[in-house]
Every structure is written in structure tokens, then in C-alpha cells.
């Protein structure tokens, strides 16, 4: 008469079901459906969604596009890393490599940018702090999304995908101007 005995009916589908179980299954199913439809709902009405826009790329190709942007819009330098101020609405590029985010981006508050992300070597993790936006940066793939910084200040990009011994030194920066 226990859980490790064969059921009383060989066809277990025919065993009776209690009211509490039926009620709970009903409630749980409704909750599951609500959670399911929250995701498409957010795609329509929410403001934080990822696009599925991405391209296969190579380290050389992506590096060339980053370099082109740096050359065109470089406005300064911090500790040897160029600071780039691309115009609002433009395509901005950020690359991850061992162990650096390159370059430093200077963006305008409440303006949208098309951010392109890729890695030149291993997997890296784009973790924008303290906003706490986290993205996976995968070598060979260029991920594109529209971002609209809505607070000004200096933001750090922490690498949060393990990338070897210097992983903890991999910090980048995004500056958002009023």
C-alpha cells in the first residue's frame, strides 16, 4: 500500500483523482499560462527586449569595423584606451578580448544607438554595472541591439564569463552624458 508497490489498478490512468489535486492542477496551469504569455506581452509593451539580429563574423572583420569607428569619432583617451563619441542614432561597436573591453564609449542620455558586440577570442560576458544588464558575447558572432541609456553617469562593463587568469581585470566603461 505504498509508493513502492504496484498501483492498485494495472492501468494507472484509471485511478481516481482527489479534489485538492484537481483544484491545484487548475490553479497551477493558469499560473503557468500567465507566465508564458508575459513574455510575448513584454515584447509588445515592455521596453527591455533583445533583438535576434546577429551576424556571423570573424575577429579580423569585427576589429576592422571597431578601428574604423575609433578613427572617425575618437575624442579622447583614458589610460591608453580611446574614448569614442559616436553621433546619436549611429552604429557603435564594442569588442571584448583578453582582457579588455575596447573602446570606451561616450553616449548621450535618452538617445538610441545600435550597439554591435563581439569577442575576438573566447566567450566574454558583458555585464553593465550598476545598471545590471548582462549579455553573452560569443566569438564569431556579432550581436546587434538598440540601446537607449536613460540615466547619465559612468558605467562599468564587468566581464562575467570566465575567460582565463586575467578575467577579473577585464573592465570596460561606458560614459553617458546629459
Amino acid at each position: 500500500m505504498t509508493s513502492f508497490q504496484p498501483p492498485a489498478e494495472r492501468i494507472w490512468w484509471n485511478t481516481p483523482v482527489g479534489k485538492d489535486e484537481i483544484l491545484w492542477i487548475g490553479i497551477a496551469l493558469v499560473w503557468c499560462l500567465i507566465m508564458f504569455f508575459m513574455m510575448p506581452y513584454w515584447h509588445v509593451y515592455g521596453k527591455q527586449n533583445l533583438s535576434s539580429e546577429a551576424y556571423q563574423t570573424t575577429p579580423a572583420k569585427f576589429q576592422a569595423r571597431v578601428d574604423a569607428m575609433v578613427e572617425k569619432y575618437k575624442t579622447g583617451e583614458e589610460k591608453g584606451i580611446p574614448i569614442v563619441t559616436p553621433p546619436a542614432g549611429s552604429d557603435v561597436y564594442l569588442l571584448g578580448r583578453l582582457w579588455q573591453w575596447y573602446p570606451i564609449l561616450e553616449l548621450e542620455k535618452d538617445k538610441s544607438y545600435r550597439l554591435h558586440l563581439s569577442s575576438l577570442d573566447w566567450n566574454h560576458g558583458f555585464s553593465l554595472q550598476p545598471v545590471n544588464i548582462n549579455l553573452q558575447v560569443v566569438p564569431g558572432y556579432e550581436m546587434v541591439m538598440n540601446i537607449t541609456p536613460d540615466q547619465s553617469g559612468d558605467y562599468a562593463i564587468v566581464c562575467n564569463e570566465f575567460c582565463g587568469i586575467g578575467h577579473h581585470t577585464m573592465l570596460g566603461k561606458i560614459i553617458v552624458k546629459e
Partner: protein, 578 residues
């Protein structure tokens, strides 16, 4: 001819070869848990920023070893023991192909040793996930492949045993629920190991230079078809053990065989979609793909877990109420044997798995919410609730049952055993809660130094994050002490525990009657009979039999709903992106 012995305490029939295999697999598992536990201490004491014990390279080696030994080796060795128990022992059937089972075990041991050699050499600190193109030594992958092949053989021994049991009619009717759950685990395991082979074999060939490159994104998608699905083996296995434990301790029968088994079927059908949970913020996946997969097709596997969340304690409640513990909503629970580590380990596991593991898992697996959680320390917090308290605590609880029943030994230091589930569970809950908090503040997982020493630029996490990591680490240390207590009790029992020559009466208080003495004198056990039908008014369609459990389930739901929408609110505060 197979020989069985009857355990005088539990009445279980043990086939001799199955018994030996259950023992060696369990022991091998505990050895791996010991390694994992020592590594865990190094990891938490390093992430506790004030102590910051290990240098970076050792830390990453320790973290890799901790992950692989705890999450793969300990759990899967123990699961193989569970599979043999659920087939041979529960069905009173000889084990199919014991020699194959020994071969499988040997491969698993060799694989585990080879992989550990690679990791501890310090040249394969690639984390458990070993994302390409970061490369480990070839024997890192080879060890995992051998281990998986061994486990696959064991799965087929399990399936073969089910076939023999049916053929030789060792039981009446259908297989028991616990075996049904183990079968679920086995089916998921076969799927998992196949996915593992698809990705690890090419990766091994790449590491020895036969293949030029492995696509980094493809690796992530397929690796996680193994990596996440293997956690679903654990879920199916430990839920089966929950049913087993309430059956043994309380004589509980499932509230409804139909509901509990259907829930296991939902696992088989939908749990394997979980690879997507790790790919939600990766490049290139469409929103439709993410939503369908991350929700296990409309959360049908989550539904299954919510069902077990009701039916496991519900079955226990019904059994307790039938014994007269009917006062109020919770007398059945208050008067449960809280000083028995088999029960307390199981119940802590059930509660924490549901409230912490389940809820955080669904929240962070929500497509958009993953943006604020991916790769933060929130993620390990979640899976410590599911696999450390969920699976490992359950396996520990089962061990306390197996020591007298399988090894025929009395518990060594029973007082320590009594406190062990609380120490382990309490420490881990502390670790989980505060790592969840630190993750919400953006602290990264798999990170040696949250102070970023040596970085060109600078960033400082808020002081609260440091404090939370410190408290979490204290919880981690307590958890390690609790884990050490388990090892002391287990190993101590095998070495110094009182030898139980005849019935020790250990389980008599739960209504299990002692049977014959311990000799392998049974050629063929009595056929396992079907459960007796209960009158409907006592069970089934008419009743609302587990009001206490229902109240607890509603509490879970309320917490779930509130926490779910809090996270949407948090998400709505970050930078808009599309």
C-alpha cells in the same frame, strides 16, 4: 542462479550483485562528494573578499573541480545506485547483465579519475562548462566521455532489469511509482548522454588537433542540452526518492497514481527543452525559439514540478491523518519525526527546492528577466537550491536509510546524523539567500576578485554586495561543515558502525515488520503484490484530503507570484533596449 537476501528491517529483497553494485556506486559517489566539498571550502573562502584565500589560478582550478565532482560525478554515481535499487530491489528482480554493470562502473571510475587528473594538473581550469574555444587538455574531455559511456551502460542495465522483471513476472500489475520515476530519470539520462556525446566527442577531437574549430555558439546550445538536462535527471531521481522515503517512513501511497505519473510523463516530454535557459542573452536566437524552449512549452514541466510539490507532502499528510494526526491543518507535520535525518533531510530538500530553487529558476529563465540575472552569482544561488539542497540533501537522507538496510550497519554518531540535515540545509539556505541578493546587485559568478585588483579601469560594487558575499560565505562554510558531518557519519558507520546481525528494529517504529535473518537464501522472492484498492470514500475522487498541504502550496504560489512580478518591475528600471 541469482541469490537474494531479505533485509530484516525493511523487507526489501537484495539481489547479491545488485547489492554490491549499489554499494560501490554509492561509495564512489561519496568520495567525489568529499573532493567537491574540500574544493567548495576553497571557493567560498576566496569569494569572501576579506579572506580571499586562494590565488587566482588555484581558485579557478578549485572551482572547476568543485563543479565537476559535485554536479557530475557525485550525483551520477549515486544515481546509478538509485537506478539499481529502483529496479532490482524494488521489483525483487535479479539484475540484468551484472558484468555489464561492473564494466559501466569501471568506465565511470576511470573517467572520473582521468578527468580529475586533468583538472588538478591546473592546465584544464575551464570550468565545468568548458566553453570553446577555451581549451582544456584532451584527457579532460576523454575522462568525461568515458564516464558518460559508463553511465549509459548502467542505464541500459536498468532498462534490461525492467524487461526481465516483466518477463519473469516478479511483480503484479504496473511498476511502482518510485520505479516509474526512476525510469523517467533513466530516459532523460539517455537523452542527456547522447547530447553530451554529440558535443564532447568533436571537442575531444578538436583538442587533439583532428578538427580545426568548433563553433562557439553551437557548443553552447548542445552542451547545455546535456548540462541542463542532466539536472533534470536529478530532479526526476530525487522526486522518486521523496516518494520512496514517504512510503518507507509513513507507509504513504500516492494521492493519485494518475496525477503523479502524469507529472513524470510531462518531465519526459518537456524538461529537455531547458538548454535555452543558458542561451537567452546569446546572439542570434529568435524570440519565439527562446520563449517556447525556456518555458518548456508553456511551462508544462514547471506544472509537473508544482504537481509533485503538492502530491509528495500531500501523500504524507494523508498517511499521517489516517494514523490519527488530524488536528488542525498541520498536526501531521508538527508530529513528524523531525529528529530522524531521513525525514528532516527529505523535508528540508522539498521545501527549499520548491520555494528557493523552483521560484528562482522560473524567474531567471524568463526570457527578458534573464537580462538582469545572466552569469551573476544569482545563477549559482539558484542551482545550489536545486542540486545541493534538492538533490544532494535527498541523497544524504537516503544514505541514512541505506546504511542499516543495505550495509547492515548502525549509524555512527547518531546525534551528529540527527543535526546534519539542519546544519547542511541551514548553511546552504544562508548561502543561497545572500548569493541571490548579491546577484541582484550585479556581482559576477566565476570571478576571482570582485575588487578588480590590477584592472586598468576601476569599478566598485556597493558595500552591501561585499556584506552579502561575506554572509553567504559563512553559510557556505556551515554547509561544508554539514557536508563533512555527513561524510563522518557515513564513513564512520561503514567502518565502526555496529554490525546488524539480525533485525535492529530501526524501522519498526514506522510499522515495518522484521522478516528473516540476513543470508542469501532466497532463490526467488515472493511476487511483489499490487496495492490493495481503497474504498473511494477513504481515498480519491470524493476527498479534499490534504488541506494542510494545499495551504502550503497556496503559500508557495503567493510567494511565486509576488517575486515574479517584483523582478519584472526591476527589469523595467534598466536601460530600454530592443
Amino acid at each position: 542462479m541469482a541469490k537474494f537476501r531479505v533485509c530484516p528491517d525493511s523487507g526489501f529483497y537484495f539481489d547479491k550483485s545488485a547489492e554490491q553494485l549499489i554499494k560501490v556506486n554509492a561509495v564512489a559517489g561519496v568520495v567525489c562528494l568529499l573532493i567537491a566539498g574540500i574544493m567548495a571550502l576553497g571557493v567560498v573562502l576566496t569569494r569572501w573578499q576579506t579572506i580571499h584565500l586562494l590565488p587566482a589560478d588555484t581558485f579557478y582550478t578549485a572551482l572547476t573541480a568543485h563543479g565537476i565532482n559535485a554536479l557530475i560525478f557525485w550525483i551520477i554515481f549515486f544515481e546509478m545506485a538509485v537506478l539499481y535499487f529502483a529496479s532490482s530491489t524494488l521489483l525483487r528482480c535479479r539484475l540484468a547483465g551484472p558484468r555489464w554493470a561492473w564494466l559501466g562502473f569501471a568506465l565511470m571510475v576511470i573517467g572520473a579519475v582521468i578527468n580529475n587528473i586533468a583538472v588538478f594538473s591546473g592546465k584544464s581550469s575551464v570550468m565545468m562548462t568548458s566553453y570553446v574555444p577555451m581549451q582544456a587538455q584532451p584527457h579532460f574531455y576523454l575522462g568525461l566521455i568515458l564516464f558518460a559511456v559508463g553511465a549509459l551502460i548502467c542505464c541500459f542495465v536498468f532498462l534490461g532489469t525492467l524487461v526481465i522483471a516483466k518477463e519473469e513476472k516478479t511483480y503484479e500489475g504496473s511498476i511502482p511509482l518510485v520505479t516509474f520515476g526512476a525510469l523517467t530519470a533513466c530516459i532523460i539520462a539517455v537523452f542527456t548522454i547522447a547530447s553530451g556525446a554529440i558535443i564532447l566527442v568533436p571537442t575531444f577531437l578538436w583538442s587533439i588537433g583532428y578538427i580545426n574549430s568548433i563553433d562557439a555558439e553551437m557548443y553552447r546550445v548542445i552542451w547545455w542540452a546535456m548540462g541542463h538536462s542532466s539536472q533534470q535527471i536529478n530532479v526526476a531521481a530525487h522526486i522518486s526518492i521523496w516518494y520512496l522515503i514517504i512510503g518507507i517512513l509513513f507507509g504513504a501511497r500516492p494521492m493519485s497514481e494518475k496525477v503523479s505519473r502524469s507529472a513524470f510523463l510531462l518531465y519526459i516530454l518537456f524538461l529537455q527543452l531547458a538548454s535555452a535557459h543558458h542561451i537567452l542573452v546569446d546572439p542570434g536566437m529568435s524570440a519565439e525559439w527562446k520563449i517556447f524552449n525556456t518555458s518548456y512549452a508553456m511551462y508544462l514541466a514547471v506544472l509537473a514540478s508544482l504537481i509533485h510539490g503538492l502530491t509528495v507532502p500531500g501523500a504524507m499528510e494523508v498517511a499521517q491523518r489516517n494514523k490519527g494526526l488530524t488536528k488542525g491543518l498541520f498536526e501531521w507535520l508538527r508530529k513528524a519525526p523531525w529528529d530522524n535525518p531521513v525525514f528532516s533531510g527529505f523535508f528540508i530538500s522539498l521545501v527549499v527546492f520548491g520555494f528557493l530553487g523552483g521560484i528562482t529558476g522560473v524567474v531567471m529563465g524568463t526570457e527578458q528577466i534573464n537580462l538582469i540575472i545572466h552569469n551573476t552569482i544569482y545563477v549559482p544561488a539558484h542551482f545550489h537550491a536545486t542540486v545541493v539542497i534538492g538533490t544532494t540533501s535527498t541523497f544524504m537522507a537516503l544514505t541514512y536509510l541505506l546504511i542499516p538496510v543495505l550495509f547492515r550497519r548502525g549509524l555512527f554518531l547518531p546525534k551528529l546524523a540527527m543535526w546534519q540535515p539542519y546544519l547542511f540545509g541551514g548553511g546552504m539556505v544562508l548561502l543561497i539567500l545572500f548569493m541571490l541578493g548579491a546577484g541582484t546587485l550585479g556581482v559576477s559568478r566565476r570571478h576571482w576578485d570582485m575588487g578588480f585588483t590590477g584592472a586598468l579601469l576601476s569599478f566598485e560594487y556597493p558595500g552591501t554586495a561585499y556584506m552579502m558575499m561575506a554572509i553567504g560565505a559563512i553559510g557556505g562554510v556551515l554547509g561544508v561543515i554539514g557536508g563533512a558531518a555527513y561524510i563522518v557519519v557515513t564513513v564512520g558507520s561503514l567502518l565502526f558502525g555496529e554490525k546488524l546481525e539480525k533485525s535492529a528494529g530501526i524501522l519498526e517504529s514506522f510499522g515495518v515488520k522484521p522478516l528473516a535473518a540476513e543470508v542469501y537464501n532466497v532463490e526467488r522472492p515472493e511476487r511483489l503484490a499490487m496495492a490493495k484498492k481503497l474504498p473511494v470514500e477513504q481515498h480519491g475522487s470524493s476527498g479534499f484530503e490534504a488541506p494542510g498541504t494545499f495551504a502550503l502550496a497556496m503559500l508557495l504560489l503567493v510567494c511565486f507570484v509576488i517575486y515574479y512580478f517584483i523582478n519584472w518591475d526591476y527589469l523595467s528600471s534598466v536601460w530600454p533596449m530592443s
